[in-house]
Symmetry: C2
Subunit: 383 residues, 2 copies
């Protein structure tokens, strides 16, 4: 199937993919007077007296804004807000399909950090949560941090954290298959953008300490050239001893490779230098860091990619609908790393007997988002 052609055709036929519908019928004057004036003044009055009531009298309690500035859309780069809209609409329909959450795309005509933060804060009253999407690093880190601090609703940059949750879930099952322990394995993460940062922080939170992050200049280390404040902070956490070297150097003896970087960075020979029963998550899109066949030829025991045409697809649709569902249902103000780790464990458990070809549950598994939502709420209850 040619997904590009089919998708263009679909978008032309329907003029986009979303529809805003009424949940109440408007067939006569009484309906009008109840849903609109004069009746609607009553819920307005109730909320005016107590703003909290917006959560149960309006769409706020079940609605998420999917916000982008169009600066890093898919692998297409900085294509702007209009061109990012098909992805944001897609995200919105996945929220509905997989978690019953109403979501609406907001595509911003600015890529300035202060202006993004300011704008999202100003439109926040009508939403129960903010899903940041496809905002380039490092701007995305500051945008997310400030919005989390300044808003009273949950904010999550999915490119960082949704991906991270699914990677951790897959890794938990992959380690089970190869019989290695989380706290023992050595992991190399290639890519220091939103995905790489989110993944590395989450693996650390989950208890993995032998982590090396590689950017275009090699292993990140404090004081190295080409660092930024986010890399410095992460390096202080995972590389206190100040290791340096290339991707190839880092891979020697490593148990796990996680790529959120560039096509074709990894060769079969490099995989051969990894530890026995190596695990390779090559998630560059649409062309992975190493093709699955080649990784296997190099001795990898388990290979995952971001693609739907290979086994073990790392697809963040497994995570974000359930995480926001849990956050909204639990009226959770901040989605913490502990909640994301819990979500990953819950996802991993949905594959009771993982194999090298099946470390991920299917997004179509009934009730999947509920399992994730419950894990998030449970983690929240532990404080």
């Amino acid at each position: 199937m040619n997904y590009s052609e089919a998708s263009l055709e679909m978008h032309k036929r329907y003029k986009g993919k979303l529809s805003v519908e009424s949940v109440v019928a408007i067939e006569n004057k009484d309906d009008l007077s109840t849903a609109y004036t004069p009746g609607v003044a009553e819920p307005c009055r109730v909320i005016a007296a107590d703003k909290e009531r917006a959560w149960d009298l309006t769409i706020k309690g079940r609605t998420v804004a999917v916000v982008t500035d169009g600066s890093a859309v898919l692998g297409l780069g900085n294509i702007g807000p209009e061109a990012g809209l098909p992805v944001m609409e897609g995200k919105a329909i996945l929220f509905k399909r997989f978690a019953g959450i109403d979501a609406f795309p907001i595509c911003l005509a600015t890529q300035d950090v202060d202006e993004i933060v300011e704008t999202v804060k100003r439109i926040a009253p009508g939403f129960g949560g903010i899903n940041l999407e496809d905002i380039a690093a490092p701007a995305c880190f500051e945008v997310e941090r400030r919005l989390i601090e300044e808003l009273d609703i949950p904010v999550m940059h999915d490119d960082q954290h949704g991906t991270a949750v699914v990677v951790l879930a897959g890794l938990l099952n992959a380690l089970k298959v190869v019989g290695k322990k989380l706290e023992d394995v050595s992991v190399v993460i290639s890519g220091a953008g939103a995905g790489g940062m989110g993944i590395t922080h989450l693996l650390f939170e989950a208890g993995m300490t032998r982590l090396a992050m590689i950017d275009s200049k090699g292993i990140i280390a404090q004081g190295r050239e080409g660092m930024n404040s986010y890399k410095e902070k992460l390096a202080a956490r995972i590389n206190p001893e100040g290791r340096t070297g290339s991707l190839a150097d880092a891979l020697v003896g490593a148990d796990v490779f996680i790529g959120v970087s560039q096509p074709g960075l990894v060769t079969a020979d490099m995989v051969r230098t990894m530890a026995q029963k190596a695990i390779v998550f090559a998630m560059a899109n649409p062309i992975p860091e190493i093709m699955p066949e080649i990784a296997s030829a190099g001795g990898a025991a388990i290979v995952a990619t971001g693609r739907s045409d290979f086994p073990n697809q790392v697809n963040n649709v497994l995570a974000f609908p359930g995480i926001f569902k849990g956050a909204l249902e639990g009226r959770i103000r901040r989605i913490t790393p502990a909640m994301r780790v819990a979500a990953a464990h819950a996802l991993a458990k949905l594959v009771p007997e993982p194999t090298s070809e099946k470390i991920m549950p299917s997004p179509f598994e009934p009730g999947l988002a509920d399992v994730v939502a419950e894990a998030v709420k449970m983690a929240a209850s532990y404080g």
Copy 2:
């Protein structure tokens, strides 16, 4: 029927009135790969190459933002963005019900003119039009003017212009019933807020010249105390001779009273001083400037109100869905006074034989929004 209770119950039961739905099914991996990644990259690429294509490949071409700052919601005043949300949701369902347009509420956490303008401009890429709603005068005038100048999509403050179109439509039919001519009659407009300003300007555009606007200090006139720049400009247009006086003074001999002001301002005695076959539109909500029975007792030939429980309801749902439908279908950048006058004439004609009890078409009249939309597009084609 107690609409307040019924409405509160409705809002509790459904948690608001809107639902964001997918127009495409997502039942398997192929669906996911077409609506979302990797297929969705193709419409993104097409729009990145030509931004105009967002109009036919995304929801932009059929979606309107309903924007409020919560500063003048219904007759409730400055109740804030959260409390305004039930009204904005209601507006959105009316857009869908009456014109098939997708609309989404945006409730702003600011009431500063510069910030409102800036924020709406930043979220505009994903919308085909902006319906401003329940923003207090005089801020609403500047917000609308600047957004019309600075955006390339149609912007309309419905409280000014939607109401004006419906008033003009009703007035055209009322004049037909009493056998008076548009260009001859003397009209008194009570209320210098958004509604009064929009109505007075539109009546002038429609060819009525004998207009007097009354605010809390009497007839507006250049240089009078308590004027603002918007009143000054309007006074220069409709009151060059500098008439002064009270509402009671203005009504003596007048043919038409139009109230968008305060309950109970007009007495039966005041109506008695008006010309024969007086027309009274008393639209203060929920309690009119004069109750219909009392206006009739004072000799009014035709009475209209904003309420659904009396004949001749002035309801802007007759106007805004069709106006935006026409604007979107015609890719009209600016909704002009000429388009609004055309819309009013089209609405009036939908009542082929108006009577004193029936000067307005029913909003449920099939195809009503199409008639309005066609009138708008026709007026646009005259340039």
